[in-house]
């Protein structure tokens, strides 16, 4: 469970830093009158950004818990983890990783284009990002198929079960993001200006970067790199 504790420690640090800026030591019973300038009043953009931030914390908690469960299951199963057979990873995942990086870069570029008010670039950027993300999902399904053909089913080993579970949850999050991206795209083609699209493109970009980071962590976990990292950690912290 150390992964989720570390994640929550990070959240607690952010929350604590934020709280220290909220005048928590104020004595409200002594203060009368209007104080503070609040960042609101119809600024839907800020609310949407904060909303996405909170959602990313929830999704981060979910992924940390799955990864925690992965390690607990690996260590707790039998003394020495005797029934834990490492799961070979299809080479296709490397290609998929490249495609996901491409979609993240495309969105970053689109975000820049939206800031510079270039609606043509925004449209093409959104198409590239959407197409590459779709390709990523197809690639993930193809990887599942390759594993199944090689005889690895969800029920055949715990590592295989975790492989399907983790990639599945990540894939569902990507698919959910595609819905938001699709709505931004629909607006772009229905004649919205680049300025009107700036917010939704910015939110999509942040979400895509988050999912890319999560994917890289998952990949390290599934290919076994994370194990080497843990060994180093255990050597440093007895």
């Amino acid at each position: 469970m150390s992964v989720i504790i570390l994640f929550l420690a990070g959240i607690a640090a952010i929350a604590g830093w934020w709280l220290t800026r909220q005048r928590l030591t104020a004595k409200p019973w002594l203060e009368e009158g209007v104080i503070g300038d609040l960042p609101h009043e119809g600024e839907r953009g800020t609310a949407a950004k904060v909303g996405l931030g909170v959602f990313l914390a929830v999704a981060g908690s979910l992924f940390s818990l799955v990864i925690s469960a992965y390690f607990v299951r690996k260590d707790l199963s039998l003394p020495g983890g005797a029934d834990w057979r490492p799961q070979p990873v299809p080479n296709l995942l490397w290609l998929n990783t490249g495609v996901l990086i491409l979609s993240s870069l495309a969105l970053q570029w689109t975000h820049g284009a939206a800031k510079r008010d270039r609606i043509e670039d925004v449209r093409s950027g959104l198409s590239i990002a959407g197409a590459s993300t779709l390709l990523f999902l197809v690639g993930q399904l193809a990887a599942w198929r390759q594993l199944a053909e090689a005889g690895y089913f969800a029920a055949s080993s715990p590592a295989a079960a975790f492989f399907y579970l983790i990639t599945g949850i990540h894939g569902l999050h990507v698919a959910g993001g595609l819905v938001a991206l699709g709505r931004a795209g629909a607006k772009a083609w229905r004649g919205a200006t680049a300025e009107q699209l700036r917010l939704s493109v910015g939110l999509c970009t942040a979400y895509w970067h988050f999912l890319l980071v999560v994917w890289l962590i998952i990949l390290a976990l599934l290919t076994g790199w994370a194990d080497d990292f843990i060994v180093i950690c255990r050597a440093v912290v007895p």
């Binding site: 928590l24 409200p28 019973w29 203060e31 909170v54 199963s77």
Partner: protein, 587 residues
């Protein structure tokens, strides 16, 4: 009022919101059914939660009848007894208390108390309710599925939860897991709204340290729920895969009815870790809103500012943080490393410190106050006493050496019913008696309210005090019937009859409350806008019940904290948060 610069006190232009930003219902359906107004959603949440809660109440009656008069009711056999336990626990903790405090009170009070027109994402808020309703319907479907609902206990521990022989193994467990997954998805949508509305939707002048403690409690509980519910989500998804696809996340090698099952190497302990990683914060997800609401009830009905407001806020935040570090005190008898037990016992006892601070502050608020024994005040006082009682037995159980012999007895049942059943539900009632005039424009009947309070309060003690005792005698929990057990004296059976009679009476008293709620809707005394002469913003709305958009054309401006009661030198004994200082002095 010494350290405030003079220019801050001057008149401030209120913020205006253009009409077109508000969502407007266009038909009866969008006004009352698929409505995006947080106040309507709150009532929908509350009505659904209380309806399903009534089902759980009837289940507890049936269980009590079986315990007092074993075998006298033909419809209760051992399988259905376990199904009743499971559904009673799950409904009460998740579908009633969590949904009512956050979905009900949260939706109604957050926008009004922080001076917003609505939640920041009204559409998502509406979807949240409908997903919650779907979760409830899937849960209820378990009663009608072949084999009935699951009887795995409310903690759903594997491996027995999905093995043959556990009632509801075919469909009940699948429906239960699906329902929980839906609930969590729906809650996350609502929870995003509550958090972002508190962060971004506050009106001018409403700093965090001027928010009523109700908002602080609901806000912190929502943050905790958003971070803790994913643990239950993961556990449910993994168990669903174990049950449906035959994976071995939680299932070890098992021989069942002489057959070796295909499961191998899974870890039941992993499920317990995930479940309680959610399960312990859940206790405080229910308790923190109760703490907040009770603070406001006490301050308003004792006409005195809350004692130690800052400390109350810090304690809420501290409890929220600490509650993530105590989960394994539910697992002392799971065979974990004894050093873990030592660590978790320590953190468990530390969490008693901020909790005790809150209790002292409530008591000190009452000290030499102008106490009005209204119905909400009675319930708030009942809560303090009950929470202290339940909390003290929690100190016993938090220690490993005391917990190990008591863990499987009725003592634990008595403890958690006191601290997280009776105590929060008293606050729910207090809150309903307090805010019903704002929601409907009419007062609840006070005589019926007092009758409801005294029967519920004394009855709850008649139920749960003897239960501690029979737990100490060694009467095990989870048993369908005791049978011939040498160590249990016959007096335990007599006490069981007494407890059951008390439970039937307390249950019936809730019908008085239901009658009161419905009768007062039509015949109750007109309440006016601010019957309790309270300071917080929800009592200062131009209309009662508040109209669509809550406020008139202009949002309120906040000039002071939420607890300006009996301020010296003022003619009125309360100063509303939005009353300009000059007007307050003149009044």
């Amino acid at each position: 009022m010494s350290d405030v610069a003079a220019e801050l006190v001057g008149p401030v232009p209120p913020a205006e919101v253009p009409e077109l930003e508000l969502y407007h219902p266009r038909s009866w359906i969008t006004k009352y059914v698929f409505c995006q107004d947080a106040k309507v959603i709150a009532i929908q949440y509350s009505a659904t939660a209380m309806s399903i809660g009534l089902v759980a109440l009837v289940l507890s009656w049936l269980m009590r009848l079986q315990l007092a008069f074993p075998g006298s009711l033909a419809l209760i056999d051992n399988a259905s007894y376990y199904q009743f336990i499971t559904m009673h626990g799950m409904i009460m903790v998740i579908y009633l208390l969590t949904a009512l405090f956050l979905g009900g009170f949260g939706n109604y009070l957050i926008p009004l108390m922080v001076g917003a027109r609505d939640m920041v994402f009204p559409y998502v808020n509406m979807v949240s309710y409908w997903v919650y309703l779907l979760a409830v319907l899937v849960l209820v479907a378990g009663f009608f599925a072949p084999g009935g609902p699951t009887g795995a206990g409310w903690t759903l521990y594997p491996p027995q939860a999905i093995l043959t022989g556990t009632p509801g193994r075919d469909w009940g467990i699948i429906l239960m897991l699906a329902s929980l997954i839906l609930f969590i998805i729906g809650f996350t949508m609502g929870g995003l709204n509550y958090v972002v509305t508190v962060l971004q939707g506050r009106t001018r002048g409403m700093t965090l340290m001027r928010m009523p403690l109700t908002v602080w409690g609901i806000f912190t509980a929502t943050v905790m729920a958003l971070l803790a519910f994913p643990a239950l989500f993961v556990a449910c998804v993994m168990m669903l895969l174990d049950r449906v696809l035959g994976t071995s996340f939680f299932m070890p090698s098992v021989v069942e009815l002489g057959q070796q099952l295909t499961y191998s190497g899974g870890s039941p302990i992993l499920f317990q870790h995930l479940f309680w990683f959610f399960g312990h914060p859940e206790v405080y997800i229910v308790a923190l809103p109760a703490f907040g609401i009770v603070s406001d009830l006490i301050s308003t009905h004792a006409r005195k500012n809350i004692f130690g407001y800052r400390m109350m806020v810090w304690a809420i935040v501290a409890i929220g943080g600490l509650s993530f570090l105590v989960w394994a005190h539910h697992m002392y008898i799971s065979g974990m490393n004894p050093y873990f037990g030592f660590f978790f016992a320590t953190t468990t006892l530390i969490i008693a410190v901020p909790t005790a601070i809150k209790v002292y502050n409530w008591v000190l608020t009452l000290w030499r106050a102008d106490i009005r024994l209204t119905v909400p005040m009675l319930f708030a006082l009942g809560f303090i006493v009950t929470f202290v009682n339940g909390g003290l037995s929690g100190l016993f159980l938090g220690n490993v050496v005391v917990d190990v012999p008591l863990s499987a007895t009725m003592f634990v049942v008595a403890h958690f019913h006191m601290v997280m059943g009776v105590a929060p539900i008293l606050v729910v009632f207090g809150g309903i008696y307090h805010w019903y005039p704002k929601v409907t424009g009419r007062m609840l009947n006070e005589t019926l309210g007092k009758l409801h309070f005294w029967v519920t309060f004394l009855g709850a003690y008649a139920i749960f005090f003897p239960m501690h005792y029979i737990g100490l005698l060694g009467v095990p929990r989870r048993y369908y019937e005791l049978g011939q057990t040498a160590f249990v004296p016959p007096s335990a059976a007599t006490l069981n009859v007494f407890i059951t009679v008390a439970a039937l009476i307390v249950g019936a008293a809730q019908l008085v409350f239901l009658f009161n709620v419905i009768w007062s809707l039509f015949r109750g005394k007109e309440a006016g806008g601010n019957p309790w002469r309270a300071t917080t913003l929800e009592w200062q709305t131009p209309q009662t019940p508040p109209g669509h958009g809550n406020w008139g054309r202009e949002l309120p401006v906040v000039y002071r904290w939420a607890y300006a009661y009996s301020v010296p030198g003022m003619t009125q004994d309360f100063l509303p948060q939005n009353q300009p200082p000059a007007a307050a002095k003149a009044a």
